[in-house]
C-alpha cells in the first residue's frame, strides 16, 4: 500500500531518449510556435498583413500551371485531370474563372482523356481510372456551361462504374485495379452529381465502408488498415450520399476527427502523425459533414446511453433488456435506412438546402490561422507545413479547408459569415463549397440543374 502510494506520488521518469514520433512532433511544433510567437510580437497592422490571403499570388501560381508544367511533373503524367481539378477549383474558390479560350482547351483536353467505353483516363489514350474520372468530372462542373457539362458521356460512365464494382460493395480503381474506400467515394460522388446513381451502384457499399471503420473511430482505406483522414472523408461522404450514414458509429467518428486537430492548430491525418495542410479539407471536411448530422448523432448517443442506463438500473435483466433495446434500435435504423435510401438521388441537394445551423465542432479560427500563417507561401501557393514546398494539391485542399472554416458558422451554406468569423481581412473570404463533392456551390447548383431537370 505504501509502496503503491509512493509509486503514485513519484511516477517512474520516462526514458531519456524520446521516440521518433516525439522528436518529429516536437520539431514541427517548434517551427509552428516560432511563427506564432513572431506573429504575436509584431504590430497590429503588420499582423493584418501576415493574415492576408495572397489571392493574386495564388491565382498567378496556379494559372501558370495551366499553360506550362516542368519536366518534374512527369510523375503526374497519369494524373493530368487532377492537375486540372486542383487548379480550376482553386481559381473558382477565389471567385474567378478562366477565359473562354482556356475553357475550350480544357474541355477538349478532358474529352481526349475520356475513354470510348466510359470514364476518364489520366491522360489522352490512357486507361480510365475512377479517381481521374472524379477529377475530370469535378473540373468540368467547375468550368460550368452547357458545352462543358454536355461533354460528359454519362451512359458510358455508368457502364464503367458498373464494371469496376465488386460483389463486396467496393469498387476497383481501374480495370483489375486496387479496391479501397477512395474508389467508393470517387465512384459514388461522380454518380451522385451526374444523376446516374442507382441501387446497383449502391449495393453493399455501406457494408464495405462499415467494415473499414476502425476501433479508433476513424475510417481506414481497407478493412483492418489504420484510420486515416483522407479515407475518413471519403467513407463518411459516401455513406451520406447513399443514405446509410446512420450505420456508422458516429459518436466515435466525431471523437476521432476532432482529436486530429492539434495544438499547431492544423489537422493531422492519423493519430500521432504530423500536421498537414491538406487535412484542412479531408478532416475539416469530415467534421463539417458531421456538424450537419447532429440529429442522427444525437439519436445514436441517446440510444446507447438509454441502453446502458437501463442495464445499470436493472442489472439482473441486463441480457433481456439489452437484447430488446438493440432490436428496437436496429428496427429504427432499418426504417431510417429504407426511407432515406429510396431518396438517395436527392440527398446531396437536400444536404445543402436543408442546412441546419449548428456551431462548428472544430476550432475554425485556429485552423484558419494555421492555413494563413503556416501553410501559405507569400509568393503564391500553399503547402503541407512550414519548410515544405508549395504544390497544386496542397493549394487546392488548403483553400478548400479555409472556405469550410469561413462558412462553418453559417445558417445557410452560402450566407456570408460575420467578419469576426473570417480570420484576417474580410477580403480573405472565399466562395462556399458543397462539402460532399468539394465543388464551389454555385457550380454545383448549375450542374444539378443541368443533370436533374434535363431527364
Amino acid at each position: 500500500m505504501s509502496e503503491e502510494s509512493e509509486r503514485e506520488t513519484n511516477p517512474p521518469p520516462p526514458p531519456p531518449c524520446p521516440t521518433v514520433s516525439q522528436r518529429e512532433q516536437w520539431m514541427v511544433e517548434s517551427q509552428v510556435f516560432q511563427i506564432y510567437q513572431l506573429f504575436a510580437t509584431i504590430p497590429r497592422n503588420a499582423q493584418t498583413l501576415m493574415l492576408e490571403l495572397q489571392r493574386d499570388n495564388h491565382m498567378q501560381y496556379v494559372s501558370k500551371g495551366l499553360r506550362h508544367l516542368s519536366s518534374a511533373f512527369s510523375v503526374l503524367d497519369a494524373n493530368r485531370p487532377w492537375l486540372c481539378y486542383w487548379i480550376f477549383h482553386s481559381i473558382a474558390l477565389s471567385g474567378e474563372s478562366v477565359d473562354d479560350e482556356l475553357e475550350d482547351n480544357a474541355i477538349d483536353f478532358l474529352n481526349r482523356c475520356q475513354d470510348p467505353n466510359g470514364g476518364y483516363a489520366g491522360g489522352p489514350g490512357q486507361m480510365p481510372h475512377i479517381a481521374t474520372t472524379y477529377a475530370a468530372v469535378n473540373s468540368l462542373i467547375t468550368l460550368g456551361g452547357e458545352k462543358s457539362l454536355a461533354s460528359i458521356n454519362r451512359d458510358k460512365l455508368y457502364g464503367f462504374l458498373r464494371r469496376m464494382k465488386q460483389p463486396n460493395g467496393g469498387f476497383r480503381m481501374h480495370d483489375e485495379g486496387e479496391i479501397d474506400v477512395r474508389a467508393c467515394y470517387t465512384a459514388i460522388s461522380v454518380a451522385s452529381v451526374l444523376n446516374i446513381l442507382d441501387d446497383e451502384l449502391i449495393q453493399n457499399v455501406g457494408d464495405y465502408i462499415i467494415s473499414c471503420q476502425t476501433y479508433e473511430g476513424g475510417i481506414a482505406g481497407e478493412p483492418g488498415s489504420e484510420a486515416h483522414g483522407g479515407y475518413t472523408f471519403c467513407g463518411l461522404a459516401t455513406m451520406i450520399l447513399i443514405g446509410e450514414v446512420n450505420h456508422l458509429d458516429l459518436p466515435r467518428l466525431v471523437d476521432w476527427v476532432v482529436f486530429r486537430q492539434g495544438k499547431e492548430c492544423g489537422f493531422q491525418g492519423r493519430t500521432n502523425k504530423l500536421v498537414d495542410g491538406c487535412y484542412s479539407f479531408w478532416q475539416g471536411g469530415a467534421v463539417a459533414l458531421l456538424q450537419r448530422l447532429s440529429s442522427i448523432i444525437n439519436k445514436q448517443m441517446e440510444e446507447t446511453s438509454q441502453i446502458f442506463a437501463v442495464s445499470y438500473v436493472s442489472e439482473a435483466k441486463e441480457s433481456l433488456d439489452g437484447t430488446s433495446s438493440h432490436a428496437t434500435c436496429r428496427g429504427e435504423h432499418e426504417g431510417t435506412s429504407e426511407s432515406s435510401s429510396s431518396d438517395f438521388k436527392n440527398i446531396a441537394y437536400k444536404f445543402i438546402n436543408e442546412w441546419r445551423a449548428q456551431e462548428p465542432l472544430f476550432h475554425s479560427i485556429a485552423l484558419q490561422q494555421y492555413i494563413l500563417l503556416c501553410a501559405q507561401e507569400q509568393e503564391g501557393g500553399l503547402r503541407d507545413k512550414p519548410g515544405k514546398r508549395r504544390d497544386h494539391y496542397h493549394t487546392c485542399y488548403c483553400l478548400s479547408g479555409l472556405s469550410l472554416c469561413q462558412y462553418s458558422w453559417s445558417k445557410h451554406p452560402d450566407s456570408p459569415p460575420l467578419p469576426n468569423l473570417v480570420l484576417g481581412p474580410y477580403s480573405n473570404l472565399l466562395e462556399p463549397i458543397h462539402p460532399l463533392f468539394n465543388v464551389v456551390l454555385g457550380r454545383y447548383r448549375e450542374a444539378h440543374e443541368f443533370f436533374f431537370t434535363e431527364s
Binding site: S21, V75, A78, S305, Q306, P360, H363
Partner: protein, 362 residues
Amino acid sequence: MKEGEQQRVPLRERAEWSDVTPLPQNDGPNPVVPIQYTEDFSQVMDYFRAVYLADERSPRALALTAEAVQFNSGNYTVCQVRIKCFRLHLFLFISSLLQVWHFRRLLLESLKVDLNAELDFVERMAAGNSKNYQMWHHRRWVAEKLGPEARKNELEFTKKILSVDAKHYHAWSHRQWVLQALGGWEDELNYCTELLKEDIFNNSAWNQRYFVITRSPFLGGLKAMRESEVLYTIEAIIAYPENESSWRYLRGLYKGETTSWVNDPQVSSVCLKILRTKSNYVFALSTILDLICFGYLPNEDFRDAIDALKTADMDKQNLDDNEKGEQQNLNIAQNICSILEQVDPIRTNYWIWRKSRLPLSA
C-alpha cells in the same frame, strides 16, 4: 549502375526497336496542364504506346515497361528533381504510370516470367519511390500468383520498408494482406511489441496489434486476448498518459462489449491514477466522461480528483455536488466538460457540444 546510366542509348538508336514506329500522345492542338517532358521520357512513352496498342507480348516490351517505371523511380533524374518527384507521391489519389504497370502484368502472364525475379524488380523500384499505389498493387498481384511461397519474402520486404518509415500506410496494408492471404501470423504480435518498444507513439503498430489480436487464427480473438492486452495497454498509458494511441486501443479492446468496458475496474482505476498526477489528463477525463455517458457511477475518489482539477472560475459556477443519483452524475459530467474546455482549448467547441448532449439531461 552509374556507368550504365551515362551510357544509356536512346530507343530510336537501338537496332531491336527499328521496326517500331513510336506513337506520340495525342494532346490535341492546345493542351492544358502541358507537361514539358524530357526527350528521354517522351521517347520511352511513345514507344510504350506503340507496343501497348499493338498488344505486343514480347520480352522487349517487358524490358520497355521496366525502363518506363525506372523513370518514375528517379533513377534517371537529377537529385533535386528526384526529391520533388518523391514528395508528389504522397498524395492520396495519385496513380503513377497506371497503364505501364497494368501492361506489365499482362506481359508477365503471357511470357510466363519467373515471378520471383519480378519481386526483385519491384523491390529495386521501391527503393526510390515506395508511396505509389500502382507499385503496391503490382506487388500484391505478383505475391498472390506465387502463393504461400511468397510469404517470407513479403514479410521481409515490408519489414525493411517499415524499418525506415515505421508508419508507411501502403506497407502496413500490404503486410495485412500477406498475413490474411499467405499466413505468417506466428511472430506478428512479437513484431508489434518490438516496434512499440522502440516507439510507443507508433499508431500504425498499435493498429497492427489490434489487427493481430482480432484476426490471428492462433490467438483466439479479442475476448481471449483482452486480459493480457489490457495489462499491456494500462502499462503503456501509465508510462505516457499523453499518448492517444494507447487510450484508443484500450477502448477498442472492449469493442462491441461496452458494458464490460464500463464495469471493468481496471479502466476506471487507470483513469483515476492519471487524474491524481494532475498532468496529461485530457484522455483520462475524456474516458471518464464517456464512461459516465454509458452509465458509470463515479465514486467519491473520482469526485475528489475531478474537484482538484477545477479552476477558481469553475468553483464560482456553484455546481452542486451534493445532489444524489442522476443529478450528481450530471454535475460531474458537466464539470468534466468544463475542465476540458479549459485544458484542451483547441477542442472547446467539441466539449461545449458534449456538455449540451449529456444523456442524463434529456
